[in-house]
Symmetry: C2
Subunit: 602 residues, 2 copies
C-alpha cells in the first residue's frame, strides 16, 4: 500500500478475478468486449479521479456544506469537477449498452469502481449512484419518449437524478404517502406534495435534475397499491432546447451529523400549482418499479459501509505503523525503546476487525452484483429464477451487514488513533459521522429485517433457504477438502444448520400460530444471516488464497495470501461466535419486547 | 416523566434508597446529618440548575465552541452561569467535610447529582468533576500550605482545576512523560514541558486554574517510577492578593467530533522559562497520587456513559410515543390508522436496550461509590481491605461498561428517530458525537483491560475473584429465593462460574507459561466482566422491585416496579447471551492477533 491510499487495488483484483472468477462471466454477451486489461483500465480511471478530485476535497466539503441561495442549492465546487470527470471518463454510463454510449461493463466491476471512488469520498458517490440507478429504472420501465428524453442526458452527466419517496408524515411507511398526481387533458399529471430527506434533491452541478417521484393518482386506492411513479424534472425541456422551471421548491436543507457534502432536501412539488410529471409504466405499479431502484440502492449502501470502513482501516493501519507508543506485553523493561502501536495485540485486533469486515463486505456485494450480471447473459429460466431469489434474499442482509458492522468497523478504526481519532486532525471522526446514516436510509435495519424474515422467509415454504444453503454449500464443499480449512468449514456448516433449523421452526410457528413473535426479532435475524454470509465469503477467500499460496512465488503475493488466511481466522475466532447469542435469542422467540404494554417503558 | 425530562428522579430514588439502601449508611459518621429529606433537597437543587443553566445551552454550546483570544481561552458564557450556580449552591463542595465548607454528603449521592446535571449537559460536568477530584487529591496528599491555598478556593468555585498527564510523544504510555521539574533554591520547581488533550485546560470561568501536573524531577529515574506530581497554578497568588501569570501557554484547542463545549488544550509550561510548581508529597510518588484522581475520573466516565445514554433514552422514548408511523405487525389492513412507533417491537427493543444499559450503569456506579462512602465511616481493617480490593477490580470495568455500551446505547436512541436522529433537529446526533470520547479518555478500553486482567487478576492468586463472587453471591442468594427470579439467578450464577473458571485457567497459564496470550484479549475480558456485573445489578434491582411490588398500591409504583422486572428480563434475554462468545473466545486464549508478523496486516 502506498501512503495515504484508502483501498487496496490488489484486493479488488483478488476478489474480482481470483475469488469470484469474473473472467468466466466475460466470455458471455454482453460482456465479451472485456478482459482483465479493459477492466484494469476502468479501475485505473476511477482511482485517478478519486485521487485528483475526491480525496483532496473530502474534508473541505464537510466543513463547507451546501446552502440555498435564491432558491437554488449551491454545493461544494469540487463536486462539479468530480461529477463531470466521472461522466466524461465514461464511467457513469459504463454498465449500460453501447447503444446508450455505455461500455457494457459488468456491475460487479462497477461495484469495484464505486468502492474506489467511495473510499476517497463517500458523499460524492451518491450523485453518480442516483444517476445510474435512475437510468436503469427508465431503461426498464420507461416509455420510449422517456428513454429518449432522459437516458442520453443522464448517462452523459448533463442531468442528474433523485429518488423521492419519504414524506414527513409517512417516514418508512410508504403506504401513507399523500403526494398526489392529477391527470391533465394533455396526458401529463399535475404533482402536488412534499418530500423530505431527498439526497442530492437539488444542486448546481447539472443544468437539470430528474426526480423520480412516488405519488398517488387522484382517486387511486389507499396503501401501497395506489402508488404510481412519475418522472418529474426540475426543468422541462422545450422544443428549442430551452429549460423551463417546473415549480419544485427547495424548502430547506437538513443539517446532518455527517455526509455534509450531499444535501438532504425538503422539496415541495407544485407550490405554484404548475408542477408537471409524467407517469412511468402503468398506474398504481409505482412501488414495483421503484423497488428496482431501492434494491440497487440497498446494495449500494451495503457497499458504502465497506468503502467507508476501507478508508478508516487504511488510515488507522498507517497510523498504527507510524505511531510509536508503549512497549510489547512481554517486555519487562520499562526503559526499553517504545514500539509502533501495531505491535500491541489490541491494536491488531482492532485492525483485523476492520479488515475482516471491509473485505467480507466487498466480497458479498460482488457476489450479489454477479447474480445481476449473470441475469444479463440470458441464462435459462431455472438459473434466472435462482439468481433472482438469491438476490431478493441477500439484498436486505447486505444492506444491514454493510451499515451496522460498517459503523462498528469505523469506530474500531477511530479507537486505534486514541485521542487523535476524536479530533479533526484525522478523517476518522468524519468517517464515523458519515457512516452512521447507512443503517437509516434506504430502509432502516428494522425495515430490512422485516423484508428478509417476513417477506422472504416466513411467507414462503423455506425453499429459498435450501437454495441459499446449496449455493454456499458449493463453496464450502470445495474448501472442506483442504485440511487447513476443514475445521472452519465444519464450524460454519454447523452454524448454518442451526440457522436453517431455527428458521424452519419459525416458519412452522408462523403458520400454526403467529409470525409476530419471530418478526419482533427480525433485526437480530438479519444480523445473524449477515454473519453467516460473511463467514461464507471468508471461506471462499481463504480457499482461493490457500490454493494460490501453493503456487505463489513473490514475497508480496505470499504475504497477501497469508494475510487472507489470518483474517479468515480472526473472523472465525472473534466475530462468528456472536452467532451463538443470536441463535439462542431467536430460537426462544419469546415475546420479551412484545408483551408488556407501552406504559411499561418509563 | 414530564416532557423533555432527561433523567428519572423516581429511578434515582429507587437505586439510592431501595436497591442500595443508603439509609443504612446515613446512620454512620460522617453522614449522620443526612436523611432522605436532605438528600432529596440536594437532588432538587441539581435538577433546578440543570433545568435553568444547562439544558437550554446544550445545543448552543456545541455550535459555539471555545476559542483563544489574546492567549486566553473563551468559553460559552452559559458555562460561567452554570459553574457559579453549582458552586454557590454548595453542591461543588457537598461531599467534603463541614470544616471545608462541605455538607459531608455521601459520594453515592453525588453520583446521582452528577447524573442529573450530566444528563442535561455532559460537557459542563467536566469542570466540576475536575475541581472535586483535584480537591480530594490535595486533601489526601497535599501539604498544609497546599491545602490552605487551594482547597477553599477550589471548593468555593473561585478557582478551577485540571489534570495534566498526556504528552504528545507518550500518549497512554505515562512512563515516557518528559515534562521536567527543576528544583530551585527556594524549594519550588521550574516546570518545562508540553501536555496535550488537557480537558478544560484553560477558560475564563474562574480567575485562576490549578493544574496538577505529572512531571519528572531533573535526574529522576526513567519510567513511571520517576514521576512526581506538582501543583502548577495558572497564576500565582501574591501576598496582597494579586494574581501573577505563571508562564503557561495555550498553544491550541483541539477540534473535536463532540464535547465541543469543553476545550481540550495543548498547553506549554515554561515557554518563557519561568513557570513554577510545587511538589505534592514525596518525589517520584506522583503516579500513586494521581491514581486517586484517575480512578475517580474513571468512575466518572463510566457514569457519563450512563447519563448521556439517559438523555438519549428519554429523548427517543418521547419521540417513540409521539411519532405516528406504520401499523402493528399483526395488523393485516394497510388502511387502518397508523400507530405510535413505540408499538413496533423493534423500537421497543431499542428502547429496552437503552433503559437496560442506563439503569445498570448508574446502579453499578452507585455500588462502587458506596464502597468509597463506607471507607469513610471507619470500617474495620478487613472490611476496608475488601472495599478497596473491590474498587480496584471494578473501576476499570465500570469505565469500559459505561463508555462502550454507552456508545451503543446512544446509537440505539438515534436509530429510534430514523432520519431525524441523524439531523440537528434533535439532540441525538450531538449525544452520539459526545459519547464517543468516553472509551478513549482517562485510559482507553485497552488500557482498562490491561489494568483489570493484568494488574488485578493475572498478577494475583485469584482471591480477588472469590471476594467479588462472594459480594455478588449475597445479592444472588437472596434473590434466588424468589421463584420468579430463580431461573435468572441460576443463569447468571452459571455465567459467573464460567467466568471464574476461565479466569483461574488464565492465571495458571500466566504463571506456567506466559500472560501474553490472555492479555491479548484483555479488552474482551473487561467487556465480559462488565456484562456479568450489569447482570448482578439487574438481579439486585429486580429483587428489590419484586419485594416492593408485593406491597405497592399506587398504579405509578406498580408500573415502575413492573418496568424494572421487564427490563431485567430484556437484559437476560438480549444482552447477557453475548457472554457466550466471550467465554469461547477467551477460553481459547489462542494467539490469533499475537502470532502473525506486522507485515501480515495489509
Amino acid at each position: 500500500m502506498k501512503k495515504g491510499e484508502l483501498f487496496s487495488r490488489r484486493n479488488l483484483d483478488f476478489l474480482l478475478f481470483e475469488t469470484h472468477k469474473i473472467s468466466e462471466l466475460l466470455g458471455h454477451s454482453p460482456y465479451q468486449a472485456h478482459d482483465r486489461e479493459t477492466i484494469g483500465l476502468a479501475l485505473d480511471t476511477a482511482a485517478d479521479i478519486a485521487e485528483r478530485h475526491m480525496k483532496p476535497a473530502f474534508v473541505d466539503s464537510d466543513r463547507n456544506p451546501p446552502f440555498i441561495r435564491d432558491g437554488q442549492v449551491i454545493v461544494h465546487p469540487v463536486t462539479h469537477a468530480f461529477y463531470h470527470s466521472f461522466s466524461e471518463s465514461g464511467l457513469l454510463a459504463s454498465t449500460f449498452p453501447e447503444s446508450l454510449g455505455g461500455m457494457q461493463l459488468p456491475r460487479s466491476v462497477f461495484a469495484a469502481i464505486d468502492f474506489i471512488i467511495g473510499s476517497a469520498h463517500n458523499g460524492f458517490q451518491m450523485y453518480t449512484s442516483l444517476a445510474v440507478s435512475a437510468s436503469r429504472l427508465i431503461e426498464s420501465f420507461g416509455s420510449q419518449d422517456q428513454k429518449d428524453l432522459y437516458l442520453p442526458r443522464l448517462l452523459s452527466g448533463d442531468w442528474a437524478a433523485t429518488m423521492c419517496l419519504t414524506e414527513s408524515q409517512a417516514g418508512s411507511s410508504l403506504s401513507d404517502i399523500t403526494t398526489t398526481a392529477f391527470l391533465q387533458p394533455d396526458g401529463f399529471y399535475k404533482i402536488k406534495g412534499q418530500k423530505i430527506f431527498i439526497s442530492a434533491g437539488d444542486h448546481d452541478i447539472t443544468e437539470n435534475i430528474l426526480h423520480l417521484v412516488l405519488a398517488r393518482i387522484e382517486g387511486a386506492p389507499k396503501g401501497v397499491k395506489g402508488l404510481s411513479l412519475f418522472t418529474v424534472p426540475k426543468k422541462w425541456l422545450g422544443d428549442s432546447g430551452e429549460l423551463t422551471d417546473n415549480d419544485i421548491t427547495s424548502v430547506g436543507i437538513f443539517h446532518k451529523m455527517g455526509q455534509q457534502s450531499t444535501p438532504a432536501l425538503h422539496l415541495e412539488f407544485g407550490a405554484g400549482n404548475h408542477c408537471r410529471g409524467q407517469l412511468i409504466g402503468e398506474p398504481n405499479q409505482g412501488l414495483k418499479y421503484m423497488f428496482q431502484m431501492m434494491n440497487s440502492s440497498r446494495l449500494a449502501v451495503g457497499l458504502a459501509g465497506g468503502y467507508i470502513a476501507s478508508a478508516a482501516y487504511y488510515t488507522s493501519l498507517q497510523y498504527a505503523r507510524e505511531r510509536i507508543q508503549g512497549r510489547n506485553l512481554e517486555e519487562k523493561n520499562p526503559l526499553s525503546e517504545p514500539v509502533p502501536i501495531i505491535s500491541h495485540p489490541d491494536v491488531r485486533r482492532l485492525l483485523f476487525k476492520q479488515k475482516a469486515f471491509t473485505e467480507a463486505c466487498l466480497s458479498l456485494v460482488i457476489q450479489c452484483q454477479l447474480y445481476l450480471d449473470r441475469l444479463q447473459t440470458g441464462v435459462p429460466g431455472e438459473e434466472k429464477k435462482k439468481y433472482e431469489q438469491l438476490l431478493e434474499l441477500m439484498t436486505p442482509m447486505v444492506k444491514v451487514y454493510g451499515s451496522e458492522e460498517g459503523n462498528d468497523s469505523v469506530h474500531a478504526g477511530l479507537q486505534v488513533l486514541g485521542g487523535y481519532g476524536y479530533t479533526r486532525d484525522f478523517i476518522l471522526e468524519q468517517l464515523a459521522r458519515d457512516v452512521r446514516i447507512l443503517s437509516i436510509y434506504e430502509g432502516t435495519t428494522a425495515i430490512q429485517g422485516q423484508s428478509l424474515l417476513g417477506r422472504q422467509i416466513l411467507s414462503g415454504d423455506g425453499s429459498v433457504l435450501d437454495l441459499w444453503q446449496m449455493e454456499t454449500g458449493q463453496d464450502l464443499g470445495m474448501a472442506s477438502a483442504h485440511p487447513d480449512l476443514k475445521p472452519y468449514v465444519l464450524n460454519l456448516s454447523e452454524n448454518i444448520t442451526g440457522f436453517i433449523s431455527v428458521s424452519r421452526e419459525l416458519i412452522r410457528k408462523a403458520r400454526e400460530t403467529s409470525a409476530v413473535p419471530a418478526l419482533a426479532d427480525a433485526s437480530l435475524f438479519v444480523e445473524w444471516f449477515g454473519l453467516l454470509n460473511a463467514g461464507w465469503q471468508w471461506i471462499k477467500q481463504a480457499y482461493t488464497a490457500l490454493v494460490a499460496l501453493e503456487k505463489a512465488v513473490s514475497p508480496e503475493d505470499r504475504i497477501f495470501y497469508r494475510s487472507k488466511l489470518e483474517t479468515m481466522k480472526y473472523f472465525f475466532h472473534y466475530e462468528l461466535p456472536r452467532t451463538q447469542a443470536l441463535l439462542q435469542r431467536i430460537g426462544e422467540a419469546a415475546p420479551i419486547t412484545l408483551f408488556p404494554p407501552d406504559e411499561i417503558l418509563i
